[in-house]
Amino acid sequence: MAMKTSSAKFKERVDEGLHNDFMRLAVSSAQERLHGRRLTAVDELGSWEEWRSLGQEIRQHVLANLDFYLHQLAENVSKRGGHVFFAETAEEASGYIKDVIVGKKAKKIVKSKSMVTEEINLNASLEAIGLEVVETDLGEYILQVDDHDPPSHIVAPALHKNKEQIRDVFKEKLAYTQTEKPEELTAHVRGILRKDFLSADVGITGCNFAIAETGSIGLVTNEGNADLVTALPKTQITVMGMERLVPTFDEFEVLVSLLTRSAVGQRLTSYITALTGPRDEGDVDGPEEFHLVIVDNGRSSILGTEFQSVLQCIRCAACINVCPVYRQVGGHSYGSIYPGPIGAVLSPLLGGYDDFKELPYASTLCAACTDACPVKIPLHDLLRKHREVIVEKEKMAPFSEKMAMKAFGLGAASPMLYKFGSKMVPAAMSPFKTGDSISKGPGPLKTWTESREFPAPGKESFRDWFKNREKGGNPS
């Protein structure tokens, strides 16, 4: 799967999301649980602001000295016998990985979850040359079995599916005969994948954080799949986005603490693993050969720009879990492997405005994302900056009007979303209002208001609305 997950137009994707009732229920309940867990984990830690400042300072220091730390990492990986390949493009990265695999005459590849391998479309390029690629993260595996359904969340990729749907997919594809109980579904997958772990020739992983001082790769999971992917096959290939590194174990532990608390509300996840080079002499398990592929794929062009801070991201998805727009439209609406606020900032930068220009408008600019970010990325500011760039590039003025229209495009897709919509809408809409409804809507509203009246946006701000809603107010 490349960055882009859908060829449908943005409005069509949003419309589909809004009409998928199960998905919307699943997303809102997942958001609440993840958000609640994160708050508990953050509260019990205390001094969260200091933690965030520390995380931000570490990430900023690494980005400002990225060449130095990447050099140190490469030297230390190589000293331990690992091979390092710097790939400027997705094609270079996939090409190198393919060469390694073909050189090993490998047939079966097991993978642990990695967003960057999705970004470089790795699975498709391996499958195209007849290789069997097995995703081993439970969520990713479910999506793979379901004819490569795209992920809708960067931590819980199958969040949009319910257990009955998963049971049906398993029945059809895996000769599954048990019930929809998550325990039974999971046990079935454990049995199947255990055989794959033991018979695979190559293991491919992503990288949560590489550690420059020791040339280590840090992996964070709950399932233990990354450990089996790296313990059993003879060759290990790790793919990392070039910014995903820290200076030493000291900073590694700080960022891991921020990541696990922010992503899933755990003090630490079940498995945090630091792998250094291939197996040591005399070791029986672990790979005989280790390759680290460091991917740029558009990241370097973000450095030195007003968007540099987005590279601080540690992929925890806390911003996604608090986003009111994501809650309503779901992950697939973004049409990118990176959904939510982080996706709305990152996708246009890595994938270009042509495909992702609508995403910066899929936001209310409520700043909940910025507040949630454990490394203090000013996400809502970056979304606003994107809008400025888009307006300037497209020479559309005045800016506020264009933005209001865009917000409309999104809002008009459904009365509910509309009502929930941007703070800016009430002001922009006032000229068209008669009482509490709109009878002659502009632009995208026109076709609607030709046949019916459109509910006018209330004066209530989003935050007030959300607060009332949480107290039991009516969502629509």
């Binding site: 309940s29 570490i58 000295n65 130095f68 454990r190 693993t273």
Partner: protein, 233 residues
């Protein structure tokens, strides 16, 4: 043998160009970070307090907790093995098993001792084992985490392939959190030691919430986890 490095110069040049300066591959030292909240956590706790913290946290990570001493640990381990449904067992080649006088028990149970000369057979044994038993090198009280170092005598598979993982925790290995573990690893590096090819921070059994955010304990790694703290070690 040193590994290869491809395309580094061009790649780094691209980075430094965008950062608006020449490429730097040396001369950067770590700053003193302005905040250090991680060092305050469980800072003034006694070893006894840390054991309590560990026990409390075990409840949250689906892990059975036992406290014993070196005289009783063999007896307790026998009970734990029974409760988990018995063998087969797989263990690292670790002198502490005899130091803690567990040899007879492990022999009686037919435990397979990791043998680096036996190659792939080790993995087959671990795959068929019901229980893998390890010693924690460092133990993080805050998160109930055991730390394992791989070596030729301690395969990675021991703590991943069996259905159950029992970790024996000498009380002296208990530290507040990952902060102290990172510092210990760094000080070894500073003294010229090389880090083991695999360091595992393991917290309880494997789990997933990928289906409807419902927690399922036992995914790819062990389904059950038991910690045994040995008070006088």
């Amino acid at each position: 043998m040193k590994g290869t490095i491809h395309n580094e110069e061009r790649f780094l040049k691209n980075i430094s160009k965008n950062l608006g300066r020449p490429t730097m591959t040396e001369g950067i030292s770590l700053p003193v970070w302005k905040n250090a909240p991680q060092k305050e956590i469980l800072k003034k706790k006694t070893p006894h307090d840390l054991v309590e913290e560990l026990e409390e946290q075990c409840k949250r990570v689906h892990t059975a907790f036992h406290l014993t001493d070196s005289k009783q640990v063999g007896h307790l381990l026998k009970q734990v093995i029974e409760q988990l449904g018995g063998g087969p067992l797989v263990i690292p080649d670790d002198t502490r098993f005899s130091e803690y006088k567990m040899n007879d028990l492990l022999l009686e149970e037919g435990a397979f001792v990791w043998d680096h000369q036996a190659g792939r057979k080790n993995i087959e044994k671990a795959e068929r084992a019901n229980i893998g038993i390890t010693f924690s090198e460092m133990t993080l009280a805050e998160s109930a985490t055991v730390v394992l170092f791989s070596s030729k005598d301690h395969g990675r598979s021991i703590s991943f392939l069996p259905s159950c993982h029992v970790s024996i925790i000498p009380k002296s290995t208990i530290i507040p959190r990952m902060t102290q573990a990172a510092a210990a690893i760094r000080s070894k590096v500073a003294q010229g030691e090389i880090v083991p090819s695999c360091i595992n921070f393991i917290t309880g059994p494997s789990n997933s919430a990928d289906i409807e955010m419902d927690l399922v304990v036992g995914v790819h790694g062990p389904i059950k986890a038991v910690y045994i703290v040995v008070e006088d070690k």
